[in-house]
Point group: C2
Chain length 159, copies 2
Amino acid sequence: MKKVENAIQDHYPDDYAWCYGCGRLNKSGFHFRTGWDGEKTVTVYQPDEVHMAIPGFVYGGVVASLIDCHGTGSASIYLHRKNGYEIGDGTEPPRFVTGSLKIDFKKPTPQHVKLTAVGRGEEIHPKKWKIVTEVYAEETLVATGVVIAVVAPSSFTTK
Amino acid sequence: MKKVENAIQDHYPDDYAWCYGCGRLNKSGFHFRTGWDGEKTVTVYQPDEVHMAIPGFVYGGVVASLIDCHGTGSASIYLHRKNGYEIGDGTEPPRFVTGSLKIDFKKPTPQHVKLTAVGRGEEIHPKKWKIVTEVYAEETLVATGVVIAVVAPSSFTTK
């Protein structure tokens, strides 16, 4: 997939659209966008030149950020569908926070190519989803990740 | 600790000083700096205003990045000392890459305060160190992390 056409982040309420990883209103951020690809979820992102570990290779913290927001975005998509809704149908999607994040770096991630995070979600509790993600640089698997995403507490935005 | 005076990243060779997380030569990066604090290692960082999850709280990907570079920097410090050297003694420190990264987010991380990553390192193989880290926002534990850091292969800079 070259581009995610219909992303859940496009439909987060404004209060939740400031994330440095995936917020459409954050001018400085990565703007990760996550949608369906068949029964899986996908986020496509090409890091900037400055996002390097050393020249030629992508910084692991950017890969971690991609997996993080892909995880919370995927959880939102899965729960939204479970609730009977779809991305962009006019209903407000649920918003998740990250409970835990585990990443295994398989190979150095080359710069100057698109990264594709592909995920599968599984409900492990009514308010908790596990998203297992693989990140590819073109066809090469460079990292795998597991995110435990938790429905954001209502207090999160009222503090 | 308010500021790390003597950081290992100040002494990485130039080829390894471009990291978006901790490279002194990367003008756009976080500039994480890691040094000793007694027998532990410490990295102090105050996220920028844009590094938010939602207004008022720090983006988890920035906390993950802090734990990542704190891990590789700490591994470098520990191995350097094991080899008989200290930060800034004129010898080139060893450079690590991240093999895996595991983070548990304990509490939402408030913005506008300094974050302090405190770590302990343990050699688990001659080329592999485990760094267990706690991240505090002022006095509050907000995240814990485990990094498996691996000595960077010589091929890493010659590609």
